[in-house]
């Protein structure tokens, strides 16, 4: 197991390195940040000085090498716009994004798992068909539009929930989050629901497909033949088998939930990293964009590793190379 984790970690570093190269070169292609920093009317000598100072006159690869050296010491450069280091700027925003993603994952699981199992167990029922058509709808409606509709309905018309911001933060076990206060929960609910819709339909379809497949297996019939209760057959024998693909997908999708929360964060003015990156793209704030993308990639790679490890716990048949068992 340890050998396996080491191997995977090494692989991850290679992926990160390649990714950082692509990101760095890619960002250099989009616009010239010079004029974001100083007025175009400045003296040519002044412009020359700034270009020299930031090293924009050097070849891209040389700039990259310089960047790598800095990153190795934890320095992703300073935001052109705010003048503070990029890394802490992003990390400071991350908890809000993670919290939004976790809560929306929770919402989509709580809704999609039972509905998916139900639709899988009774595919002929009208209610199942309604659930499945509904999930197609959830799949195909654009996130920003749903977000605006949620605001219109619950915030403007009914005035039940607030529509912007993160609300009060509470502290629990040293973690600061809006999940720990009522006010915070009321703030997170709408954006989380909005973000959840994105994943809800895929989890639901996966659960339904898994249920339909597993329910036909001999071991389910055998479990019934042993006289187990319906709930034990479903909650233990069936669910444990469906959870394998569901956990895999959820784990992988959690990364995309974080990465694509940008739309939701923008609609609900949620002060997370997604909103920051949108603002940075507008301002051509290279260091922030690069740092954000690299953090996101690192996050994906890390999640993949976690999912693989979790998978081996859930499914005893998965033998990991180098495992001692």
């Amino acid at each position: 197991m340890t050998v396996y984790i080491l191997q995977r970690t090494l692989q991850s570093f290679v992926v990160l390195f390649v990714m950082s190269l692509i990101v760095f070169c890619g960002v250099n292609l989009i616009g010239d940040p010079i004029y974001m920093m100083i007025s175009p009317e400045s003296e040519p000598a002044e412009i020359e000085r700034v270009i020299k100072e930031f090293g924009f006159d050097r070849p891209v690869l040389e700039q990259y090498w310089f960047f790598l050296k800095n990153v190795a010491s934890g320095d992703f450069g300073r935001s052109f716009v705010q003048g503070i280091p990029a890394l802490p700027l992003i990390l400071e925003r991350f908890p809000a994004t993670i919290e939004l993603a976790v809560f929306s994952l929770f919402i989509s699981l709580v809704i999609a798992l039972p509905l998916g199992v139900y639709a899988g167990l009774y595919p002929e029922r009208k209610s199942s068909k309604i659930i499945m058509s509904g999930s197609i709808l959830g799949f195909s409606m654009p996130t920003f539009w749903v977000g605006i509709m949620l605001i219109m309905l619950f915030a403007v018309k009914l005035d039940w929930l607030p529509s912007t911001g993160r609300g009060e933060l509470g502290t629990f076990l040293g973690i600061e989050s809006s999940l720990f206060t009522l006010n915070g929960l009321s703030h997170i609910f709408l954006p989380a629901l909005n973000l959840a819709l994105f994943k809800l339909s895929s989890v639901l379809r996966l659960t339904r497909a898994g249920t339909r497949e597993v329910i036909l297996q001999d071991y389910i019939k055998f479990a019934r033949a042993k006289g187990l209760s319906h709930s034990r057959v479903i909650n233990v024998h069936l669910l444990k088998n469906i959870l394998i693909p569901v956990v895999t997908v959820i784990g992988l999708e959690f990364g995309s939930l974080v990465a694509f929360s940008t739309v939701t964060e923008t609609v609900f003015a949620w002060p997370g990293a997604g909103k920051l990156i949108i603002d940075s793209v507008y301002n051509l704030d290279r260091p922030v964009i690069v740092a954000y993308l690299i953090i996101i990639v690192a996050f994906f790679v890390f999640l993949n590793l976690i999912v693989d490890i979790l998978y081996s716990f859930l499914d005893p048949r998965v033998r990991i190379k180098g495992s001692s068992e």
Partner: protein
């Protein structure tokens, strides 16, 4: 003696898109307490579906269309779902045909055994349940059962998995075990041993056995009575001695001739000509007619009824009565 199980005119059909499959079509048989009854027939003749029907495990598009299944004094068609659940795995247990698919791949053997006890005995302690399960594993010949309890099914061979399901069937000391090809997945050496063990266990605890198999040779040595199935019907049933030594139905005769044995050494093995008819388009008359050496014009038109003979055997054949 009052039978422990009585099946009367059971019909289980599958209503598929391609047509109605009469998997079990009007079968009747009974099993006395402690008795071993063989249910023999070719692949697809409806043996497994008979077992599932008894346990109420027929799922759509299948349905028990008519008939009575009486277990002790209970009409299994009329009792509640809860009562049926209490009987399953407790009073009537079943060993499934395919040992590779029977055990849940993601649960430990321990879990799958202990839950069988706890489902029917809410007050038993975890430790007592564990001990019973471990002893049952030992009983079916699994070495170092304590270690094995912790294992997952994929760590077992097919034969060992079959023994685990036999052990599970024995856990609650049922009155009846439906054993669906319990020894087919085992090697010949183990086969004899498992058959012997099961026979012994059933004699000791007075458990009745419905032994389902396509292999007449296996069943000949252990059963008290045999029912022979063909295309969803029982075409002949009687005591093992009568069926093996004086088979009357042409199909039974064919089956017995095709069993390899010592005194037929060197001879070519007998084969019943023709094929089992498709279950989607069974003929109007006798389903065996095309392959039968006794066939007459009447067989094409008329469904033979089950008739009882003086020696206690039942037959479905239009021509036998005429002959004798």
């Amino acid at each position: 003696m009052k039978p422990i199980l009585e099946v009367e005119n059971l019909k289980t059909y599958f209503f598929t898109k391609e047509g109605v499959v009469k998997a079990v079509d009007d079968i009747s048989f009974h099993i006395n307490p402690g008795e071993i009854v063989g249910l023999v027939g070719e692949s697809g003749s409806g043996k497994t579906i008979t077992g599932f029907s008894i346990l109420g495990l027929i799922d759509s598009p299948g349905k028990i269309v008519s008939g009575n299944i009486k277990f002790k004094d209970l009409d299994l068609q009329k009792i509640s779902a809860k009562q049926m659940q209490d009987i399953r795995g407790n009073r009537i247990a079943m060993i499934f045909q395919d040992p590779m698919m029977t055990l849940n791949p993601v649960l430990r053997i321990e879990t799958q055994m202990i839950e069988t006890i706890k489902a029917h005995n809410k007050t038993i302690s975890q430790q007592d349940a564990y001990n019973t399960c471990r002893d049952a594993l030992g009983l079916v010949g699994i070495s170092s059962p304590d270690e094995r309890m912790k294992a997952y099914p994929h760590q077992f061979s097919g034969g060992m998995r079959q023994r685990v399901s036999i052990a599970i069937a024995l856990l609650n000391k049922p009155d009846l075990i439906i054993a669906d090809e319990p020894t087919t997945a085992l090697d010949v050496t183990i086969q004899g041993q498992v058959i012997f063990e099961m026979q012994k266990l059933c004699k000791e605890s007075g458990t009745a056995l419905l032994w389902v198999t396509h292999d007449l040779a296996v069943v000949a040595g252990i059963t008290d009575r045999i029912s022979v199935m063909y295309a969803g019907r029982i075409i002949e049933q009687g005591t093992t001695d009568k069926i093996i030594n004086q088979p009357l139905h042409p199909y039974t005769q064919g089956l017995i001739k095709s069993v390899p044995s010592k005194n037929k050494k060197g001879e070519k093995l007998h084969q019943i000509d023709g094929m089992v008819p498709s279950m989607f388009s069974l003929p109007k008359g006798c389903a065996f007619e095309e392959r039968c050496y006794l066939r007459s014009e009447q067989c094409k038109q008329e469904q033979p009824l089950e008739t009882q003979y003086a020696d206690g055997r039942f037959l479905r054949c239009l021509n036998i009565g005429k002959q004798t």
